[in-house]
Amino acid sequence: MAEIQALILYCSLFISLFFEVFLLITYLEVREELDLEDKHLGKNIREFPTVTIIVPCFNEERTVGDTIRSLLDLDYPKEKLSIIAVDDGSTDGTRRELASFESRHQISVLSKKNGGKHTALNLALEKVESELVGCLDADSFVDSDALRKIVPFFDDASIMAVTPSIKVFEPQSVLQYLQKIEYSWGIFLRRMLSSLGALYVTPGPFSIFRVRVFRELGGYAHGHQTEDLEIALRMQKHRYKIVNSYGAHVYTVAPKSLGALYRQRVRWTYGFLNNAIDYRGMFFNKKYGHIGIFILPIATSSIFSTLFIFGNTLWNNLNGAVDALVKFQTVGFNWHSSLPSFDWFFFNTGVLPILATGVVMLTLIILYLSIKMAEGKVRFSRGIFYYLALYIFIVPLWLTKAVFNTIFRRQINWR
């Protein structure tokens, strides 16, 4: 049993190291590309395509006004940009908030019975007449140059969708600061996946598509409550190219409390696992390139290896705590023998701790690059502290629940 456990740990660490090395090699390959994007993207657009942004809302009275105002403030020709806000049967003041924008000629407001985000998006898609279409969740806001930094990618006729970089909007709580760093890691990861042609999610906040994607592949599906993941996988399955514009910044209101964060992440992880099951034919299929051969399998296995490594560490620490308790009960506390020894002999120099140190060091390097990419510079902030100190302890909470719900086929709720 112990041998099997050690074997799984070695395999998990090998895969984690391999993935991190793979990402760093990719980063070295695209570094110059990133510099060019920084300098030139969005500056000399010859022709602005027509764009429609759909804002699906369900009980978003507090944020939807700012969301729409941020769209109206976009640095983009007004006649080329239209907005469709869809009230998906809200029970709060969302409808009233939307009504205040109805006089603007750029904005149309639709209302329907509550049916879920995908139904709101599909209703709006029926009305879209532009070349490009995107979605902006009603709790997110865009930088004024975000669209200008997305549109040039569509000069390449093979590109079917462009995703932005998502940042946390004005963090206030510990968990929001923590998520700010986590989103920086997401910005790095998405940009690297973009270079590999392996993006497997087109996030709700401001992913822009060619309208023909929906005309050819159909509208949004329920997608186990993660319609943005499902459409991306459907596009990848049909070999539609998705890229990321890391310079296009979108801000989202991150969950403030642990409960809200937990529910959101259970939904995301559950959605990923169940969509991965639906699209299992892509796994290890070289026809789909990096996403099939490497990214989808490793994204799935990382959920289980994280749980295994966490469970193992927790078990070892619990055993250590029980031993310490037995020792305390037996001989009481003694400064001389109860404190850890600083004799190097008693430092664990086994292969696993050395490998784990290697994984942590590479993680810190990637974290440094991620923050530099997201913020432009790196300085030690409270977010980094919260991220390093807390993240590892909260992730297993939602991973466990999502895996449990998937195995026992339990449905999850949006909120």
Binding site: V21, V331, S337, T349, I354
Partner: protein, 230 residues
Amino acid sequence: MINPKKYIVAFTITAVIFGTAIYVSNLLGQKKLEDVRAIENRVALDILSSETQFALLEETSCRDIAPGFLSKELGSIGERLTYAENQTEFNTNDLEYLKRSYFLLEIKDYLLMKRLTEKCGIKPTFILYFYSTEDACEECQRTGYVLTALRDKYPDLRVYSFDYHFDLGAIDTLVSIYKVKLDLPALIINGLTYYGFYSVEDLETMVPALKELAARAKALEKTATSTLTD
């Protein structure tokens, strides 16, 4: 469509990191065992020196046997070997060899200690302790804590611990001399065998010489303090 070169490069780098981790871990493990071996060599020399000194002083008074006559490092080897047993980075054969040497050194030290107490008529300040690593023995773990705490409290107390199941003739002989049953942990104090768990306080009562050791340590401390004050 996929360029395998990148996968090969990433795999090679990962394999090199893995290989380095295994190499470094083995190297450090070896270094640790060499440390234990070095201590064992020092203890062996100490014992040889003590035996020689004892033989030379056979005809003279016990007063000539200075404090620190016996090696102080046996406990340190024991702690290191106990730690090493629970780790995976050590070569099992090397570890077995070091344990064998350790048990033999303990027995030699014990015999010397026994002769010393008999010759000089002093109260014995040593405990023989038999534990098990094969069966789940929670009381062995607790007894280990008690004996370590006692040794911390009375540095002159000598605890000789033996793995009951270790394949060593000398241990089997000790087991048969003291008729130790497989009802571990077992402690031998003043020729009597005690089974099961005993607290620090119990053992302090069972080994009366410990009180003398404590008094001696207190007196030494007092002398040191007054010297410093003067």
